[in-house]
Amino acid sequence: MSIVQYLKPAFLEHPSRDNQIYKHAFNFRKIWKMTVLITAAVALIPLISITAIDYNVTQRALESEILLRAGRLASNTKRSIDFFLAKHKSVLDFLIHDNTFEELNSLNRLTGILNHLRTGFGGFVDIGIINSRGIQTSYVGDYKLEGKDYSTQPWFQKVVEQGMYISDVFLGFRKKPHFVIAVKRAYPGKTFESQNYVESGKIIEHEKPVESLADAQAQTLSGVQKSAEANKSYEEESFYGVENDFYVLRATIDAEHFNELLSNLELSGMGDAFLINHEGVIQTPSRLHGDVLTKTDIPVPSYSIHTEVKEYIDTKKNVNIVGYAYIPDTNFILMIVKKKAELMKSWYSTRSILIIFLVVSISIILGAILSLTTYLVNNMYIADKKRALAMHRIGYDNKLATIGRLAAGVAHEINNPLAVINEKAGLIKDMFTYQHKYEKDDKLIGLADSVISSVQRCGSITHRLLNFARHLEVSIQSINIKSLIQDVLGFLGKEAEYRSIKVLVDIPDDLPDMMCDRGKMQQIFLNLVNNAFSAISSDGTLKIEAKEKNSEFCTITVSDTGCGINSADLALIFEPFYTTKSSQGGTGLGLSITYGLVNEAGGYINVESEVGKGTRFMVTLPYKHNTGKEDKVCEYS
């Protein structure tokens, strides 16, 4: 038996009885469907709603947690970078204020400062002093940059304007990424005439005094002397207005040192932390979003004073969480980029567990609902069918009993006058025979004989009727199967004759007698023979065979050469109220009653049929009656 049969009741497949006479039975299809639907709705709607709500809440909570974390990380990192830059800026600021221009122009002093910076802070590559004309007057580092003119460089313009400048990362002469921090100090108490340094013709002219200044530094002149000298030369050349003079301390810092700050960050979810400038050029190494000094694939986020978190969908349709912060006073933007899918991984596994749980729950609930409903409604259906069948059988049996009693009464009443006729005719015959008066008149004797034989025939009919009626009462007795079958055929013999149906009986004489109720046995075989007769059109054959199956059972086969039953109907012919002859007044109960009676007797019935060839009913009955299976409803009172 497959699981489907447990979940789906058999009656769903049965043809509708709506148009038939027994439609009084409940509509079990509707009951089943309604029960399944309502129970499923009541059970599943809250489950699905709760799961959906939980799903959404959890997902949203996780998403906001991810955004929050990215934001926090960006903000912390921004603070670190801020601190790093501020630290370097402050130290340079301190140095420029702690040392005079002259002191800083002393190579020894500057070399000492660079060494202290390297050991104290690390990352300082070189350091230089640039005067207000943009000429590097003193320089300590790996390259010969003394006297280099920075006056045209934008960073120099910026430092002049803002007093402080932090450059973008650039390769510069060293072909190594580095950046510059420059701070400006007004020359205390000194003024000079500012010149147009941008004028190209002048620039070369300015180089000489710078070189001579460098020479002066090499000769370890005192800072005051040197600056006085320098001022002197400036004063000589000044022909523009007078303003406060200034100088710039410029330090190059290895970007590697800066990178460590970002690469040491522990980033989950394929994270990437790097700096870009306001133009979107990558400043520190990025794992996924481009090389240093190339333009990043992520669009430059709009300016915000605070740390912000945004979602960004890249070209591969991946959702990225971007936490960013504008580093104040610099051209840097800190970018923390994480793959959302990676971060949501734990959620995806939780989600699949949630979905599997939901699917399994729904399956279990539906399975339980279907099997329980099927079980209950099926039992109701069977009980209802049994009830209808029992009701019908009570009616049927009562009718049969009434007809039986009527027939018995009639038979008895007719029997007496028949006996009189019999004796009178006998007497006439006797008179002819014994008194020799009409001894020779064969015709008269023949007439008397025919009256007597007719009376005998009537007598046999009345006896059969009386016999039949009497067996409506339940009594278990020893029955000879052959005589039982002949009794049954006796009622239908005439019909068979009229319709030219050949009736063959093959029952061995030595078949043991059977202990059972004669009336019920008669009913079983009367039903089967009647059925066969209605299937046979004419000139057909009805065959009744009996043989011993084993020491406890014998099988009686009723086969016909009638129209046969198709396989769809065959499965249902023992179902109560199932009929293909409703238009001809069939109740669909004949075979179901037969089935019930055979079961009651402790036997079973099988059927084989082929459309157009005929049908075979095989009734297997025990020799000993099984009283345990007696159906009380069916007993005749």
């Binding site: 008895h412 007496n416 028949l418 006729i421 006797d430 025979t433 007598g459 009497r470």
Partner: protein
């Protein structure tokens, strides 16, 4: 062989008696139990043929009464019903049994058999 026939259907029983006389069997008929008992008081019979179903006293009851007084008498039941129940009662009483309408020759044969079984 003296026979007493008892049946409430007088037309039937008288004809039966007449037919038996053709066959050399002398039979007296009575239309009921009381009449039968009267005959029995005055005459002696070897065998009684009794209809099972009769008003007032049925054949089975009548047989019991007769047998009390004349224990040697033999009996044959006649019945219109031919029920197995009746048959069983007949067998239990060791009485012969025929179903109406009877064949007269069968009845004669059964009478002889009953007498021989004495």
């Amino acid at each position: 062989m003296r026979i007493l026939l008892v049946d409430d259907e007088t037309d039937y029983v008288s004809t039966l008696a007449e037919r038996l006389s053709f066959r050399g069997i002398e039979a007296q008929w009575a239309s009921g139990g009381q009449e039968a008992m009267r005959y029995l008081e005055n005459n002696q019979y070897d065998l009684a043929v009794l209809d099972v179903k009769m008003p007032k006293i049925g054949g089975i009851e009548l047989k019991k009464q007769i047998q009390k007084r004349y224990p040697d008498m033999k009996f044959i039941y006649l019945t219109g019903h031919g029920s197995e129940e009746d048959y069983n009662k007949g067998v239990a009483d060791s009485v012969y049994y025929l179903i109406k309408p009877v064949n007269i020759e069968d009845l004669v044969k059964m009478m002889k058999k009953a007498m021989e079984g004495k």
